[in-house]
């Protein structure tokens, strides 16, 4: 009983952290990055952000939590879709896109583990950030293609999503690195 309560409590904390991080990066992307992007590249007509930080949250959550990243990210992803598309979040295409967004990265990491390439954190081996980046790139390709199919949008949008996801993952990790460094200094 205590164990069950403990794991529920842990899932609650994980959900609060992962979903808040996801939604916060969505806000940052659509309230700051996209307006800046529109100022710098006015001729770029796509709504896709060229720096999509939430993909970094998706990848790192799945790397840290495995399958638990699915329930942990779900409220944040639903809130993000509602924020961007309003009540359209209830459309079947949006629900499919939500499922794709939360399931693809954990699924990819588990499939890699099944074929003998275990990238999940372990005390017995050093973490491989380039492998995590690789997973981020592959899953971005999958998510962008599947989401495009679900939305029926222009294929060129998929390329913009891909660029945004990769840069979002890389710069998100870099930002975390410097955030930890600053926290370490002020501690």
């Amino acid at each position: 009983m205590g164990d069950k309560e403990g794991s529920l409590g842990r899932l609650g904390v994980e959900t609060a952290v992962a979903s808040s991080a996801y939604f916060a990066t969505i806000l940052l992307t659509f309230e700051l990055v996209v307006p800046l992007q529109n100022l710098v590249f006015p001729e770029y007509s796509s709504r896709a952000s060229l720096l999509f930080l939430p993909h970094g949250v998706r990848v790192l959550s799945a790397w840290l939590l495995g399958w638990r990243a699915v329930p942990a990210l779900l409220p944040g992803v639903i809130a993000a879709f509602a924020y961007v598309g309003g009540m359209d979040v209830l459309l079947p295409s949006r629900m499919i896109a939500i499922a794709i967004a939360v399931c693809t990265v954990p699924l990819c990491l588990h499939l890699l583990r099944v074929i003998g390439l275990d990238l999940f954190p372990s005390q017995d081996r050093a973490p491989c950030w380039l492998c995590v980046m690789g997973v981020g790139i592959v899953t971005s390709l999958i998510i962008a293609s599947l989401t495009n199919m679900a939305f029926g949008s222009d294929p060129i949008e998929a390329i913009a999503y891909l660029i945004g996801d990769i840069s979002g993952l890389f710069f998100g990790m870099l930002a975390l690195l410097y955030a930890f460094r600053l926290l370490g200094r002020s501690a």
Partner: protein, 97 residues
């Protein structure tokens, strides 16, 4: 505790990124001490100040600079003092750990 360990795992990942990209937050003397300590440390990752100060990389470094950099490496988490009461002993923390 679980949340803390996830945070530690995330930091390990970012440390590996930091090292690959050459973004380590170390001064030249700190880097030389860390390299020397990594080289001198045995399987148990322990290194002694006496051995470090005599290392070829650190021959030209003055004692005050050496000890300032050593203290800074401890503060940044690259070295930790041995858990025993032995003051001249440090544990080399791998940047992957």
């Amino acid at each position: 505790m679980q949340t803390l360990s996830k945070l530690a795992e995330l930091r390990r990942l970012l440390h590996s990124m930091e090292r690959t990209l050459g973004l380590q937050d170390l001064s030249p003397v700190e880097r030389d001490i860390y390299y020397a300590a990594s080289e001198l440390s045995e399987n148990d990752r322990r290194v002694r100040t006496v051995g470090l100060i005599e290392h070829a990389l650190l021959e030209t470094v003055s004692r005050p600079t050496f000890f300032r950099a050593l203290k800074s490496l401890v503060n940044k988490g690259y070295l930790t003092q041995c858990s025993t009461m032995n003051r001249g002993c440090y544990l080399v923390r791998s940047s992957e750990s």
